[in-house]
C-alpha cells in the first residue's frame, strides 16, 4: 500500500503563531484529504485536495501531486486548533491510507 509520512510528529505553538504541517506519500494518488481529530475523537474533514491550493479561513492547504507531498498551513493559531491533524491519501483502487498524524498543541 501507499506509505504516508507526516511531519513533524508534535508541534507546540503559542497562540497567534503560524505553522506548516507536511505530508509525503510514496506513490501517485487519486485524492488526498486533511482531517482534524478533536479531543473527542471525531475526524473532521478540513480539505479534500488532490492538487492545487485551497483556503478556508485561517487554514489553507497545497498539494503538489507530481512531487508527492501536501502542506497544511495554520495561520494565527488559536487554542481550538489543538488536536491531531491527519493526512490521508486515496489510492487508485479507492483505499484510504492515513499517516501517523501531527499532534498540535496551541498554548494561550
Amino acid at each position: 500500500g501507499i506509505q504516508v509520512e507526516q511531519s513533524p510528529p508534535d508541534l507546540i505553538l503559542q497562540e497567534g503563531a503560524n505553522s506548516t504541517l507536511r505530508c509525503n506519500f510514496s506513490d501517485s494518488v487519486n485524492n488526498l484529504q486533511w482531517f482534524h481529530q478533536n479531543p473527542w475523537g471525531q475526524l473532521i474533514n478540513l480539505f479534500y485536495i488532490p492538487s492545487g491550493t485551497k483556503q478556508n479561513g485561517r487554514l489553507s492547504a497545497t498539494t503538489v501531486a507530481t512531487e508527492r507531498y501536501s502542506l497544511l498551513y495554520i495561520s494565527s493559531s488559536q487554542t481550538t486548533d489543538s488536536g491531531v491533524y491527519f493526512c490521508a491519501v486515496e489510492s487508485w483502487d479507492y483505499k484510504l491510507s492515513f499517516g501517523a498524524g501531527t499532534t498540535v498543541t496551541v498554548r494561550a
Binding site: N30, Q33, L43, F86, S97, A100, G101
Partner: protein, 113 residues
Amino acid sequence: EAGVAQSPRYKIIEKRQSVAFWCNPISGHATLYWYQQILGQGPKLLIQFQNNGVVDDSQLPKDRFSAERLKGVDSTLKIQPAKLEDSAVYLCASSLGQGTGYTFGSGTRLTVV
C-alpha cells in the same frame, strides 16, 4: 445532510466477551468503511463495502472479527471473542463514490479489560 451515525459511543467489556458496533452511513453513500484506530496511531482500514458487497477485507482478523452490511445501508462490526489488543476506537466512514471524499462518524471507543 445528516452525518455518519455510530453507536454505542463507549463500550467496556472483559476479554473473551463479544461486542457489536453499528453504523448508519450518509443517505445515498454506496461505499462504507470500518477503521480501527489504536491510541497514538492513524486509523487502519479493516473492511470496505460497496453497497452490500465486500470490496476489501484483507486487514480484517477474520478469526474474531466479522462485518456485514445488510441491504446496502446500515452495517455492523462484531468482535468475538475480544482480546486486550482490540482496545481502540472503531470508526465508520462513508463515501458517495470515487473521488468524492470520506465522512467519518464519531466512533466507538472500546476498552477490553
